[in-house]
Structures are given as C-alpha cells and as structure tokens.
C-alpha cells in the first residue's frame, strides 16, 4: 500500500477483555516495529520483526502482550486480559530494511480500557 495502515483507529475495551490491533506495513518493507505511546509521552519500543522473525520483544511490558507477523507482512499485536494501564496509542512503523533507516509510521490505534 501507499503507507502504513493500522486498524482500528480507536478501540474501547472493558477491563479483562482481549484485543487485537492490526498493522499493514508498506509493501516490501522488511522491518516492522510496534511502539506504545502514553498521553504526553514519546513512543516506547515494544517489539521488532524482520520479515516473519521477531528479533526483539524486550519492550513488551508483560506476558499479556503478544505480537506476530506470520507471513512477513501484516502484523497483529494482541493484548490479553486488558488493564487500565494498557490505555495508550499503539503505533506501528516499518522500514525498508534495518533499524537505522527512516521509519514510516501509521496513524496508530488509540486503546481505551474502561
């Protein structure tokens, strides 16, 4: 596609509910990143894929967070048993190859956990 696409744009979940956030990167981009951005803060790294391989998941805050990119294209970030502290904007970015290159960002999914 022309840019990085994320869906849904907004998600409201009840505490304890599972959610799935989707990211469709730019076609041909090898690297894909997920970030969490709390209100008024900079993005915080969650996880990184190169093709279908998850090379780094050191930023995932707990084992309730899981990400996958099974065919090296679309990625899904899943949060199980959501908590209020999970409320944030979740940003996805892709780059042509490595982590040192220009990142192209989607518009994010704003998750609100009630």
């Amino acid at each position: 596609g022309a840019g990085v696409s994320q869906s849904p744009r907004y998600k409201v979940a009840k505490r304890g509910q599972d959610v799935a956030l989707r990211c469709d990167p730019i076609s041909g981009h090898v690297s894909l990143f997920w970030y969490q951005q709390a209100l008024g803060q900079g993005p915080e790294f969650l996880t990184y894929f190169q093709n279908e391989a998850q090379l780094d998941k050191s930023g995932l805050p707990s084992d309730r967070f899981f990400a996958e990119r099974p065919e090296g294209s679309v990625s899904t970030l899943k949060i199980q048993r959501t908590q209020q502290e999970d409320s944030a904007v979740y940003l996805c970015a892709s780059s042509l190859s490595g982590v040192y290159e220009k990142l192209f960002f989607g518009s994010g999914t704003q998750l609100s956990v009630l």
Partner: protein
C-alpha cells in the same frame, strides 16, 4: 543505557520567525543515528531530518536544519520561516545499535505557531 532528553515541553514562535528545539542524548556508542520526527494531531509520525553521527556536516532539509555537536551530545533542530503547518509535537530519536532496543525517543516538544 541510552537516553534522549528534550528539555522544552512546549515552545511558541511567531509565524515566519525562527525557532530552535533542543535535544541532548547519552550513549556509549561511537556510531549512531539521530532523527527528528514530527507528530501532528493526526498522530502519524513523519521524519523531518536524519543525521549520521560519523558525518560532521549538519543535515539540512529545506527550512529544517540541525546543529549537531557530537562532543556535547547535542542535536538541536532549527526551523526557519515558521509556518502554521509546522505546529505539532516534535520528537528526537536516537538509534545507537544493539538491535531495536537501541531505538530511543525523547518525550517531545509541543511547538505552537502564533499567526
């Protein structure tokens, strides 16, 4: 651990004037990359400018330029002839190697353009 500090939570400038946003960082690596990103209300982060640490020449992109002081670990962004469309959050980012966890963002500066 690497850190990126943006000490100005908010800056305001008159349209057509020049403004400088500050960013300092800390890393033990000798080679790294620095970026400035703009985040408008639409939330989509857009790359403004990129600087490779091994290059001494300051990067420039039209009205945007950086003042890169490697010894001082400073990477400020200068916006000349400010326009209303420049109003946004600006984030400084550093990649210092070691995989994706070497990607660190500052907390951002909210830039207001006064007409």
């Amino acid at each position: 651990a690497q850190t990126v500090t943006q000490s100005q939570p908010e800056m305001s400038v008159q349209e057509a004037e020049t403004v400088t946003l500050s960013c300092t960082y800390d890393t033990s690596e000798s080679d790294y990359y620095l970026f400035w990103y703009k985040q408008p209300p639409s939330r989509q982060m857009i790359l403004v400018i990129r600087q490779e640490a091994y290059k001494q020449q300051n990067a420039t992109e039209n009205r945007f330029s950086v003042n890169f002081q490697k010894a001082a670990k400073s990477f400020s962004l200068k916006i000349s002839d400010s326009q209303l469309g420049d109003a946004a959050m600006y984030f400084c980012e550093m990649y210092s190697g070691g995989g994706a966890d070497g990607l660190t963002f500052g907390k951002g500066t909210h830039l207001i353009i006064q007409p």
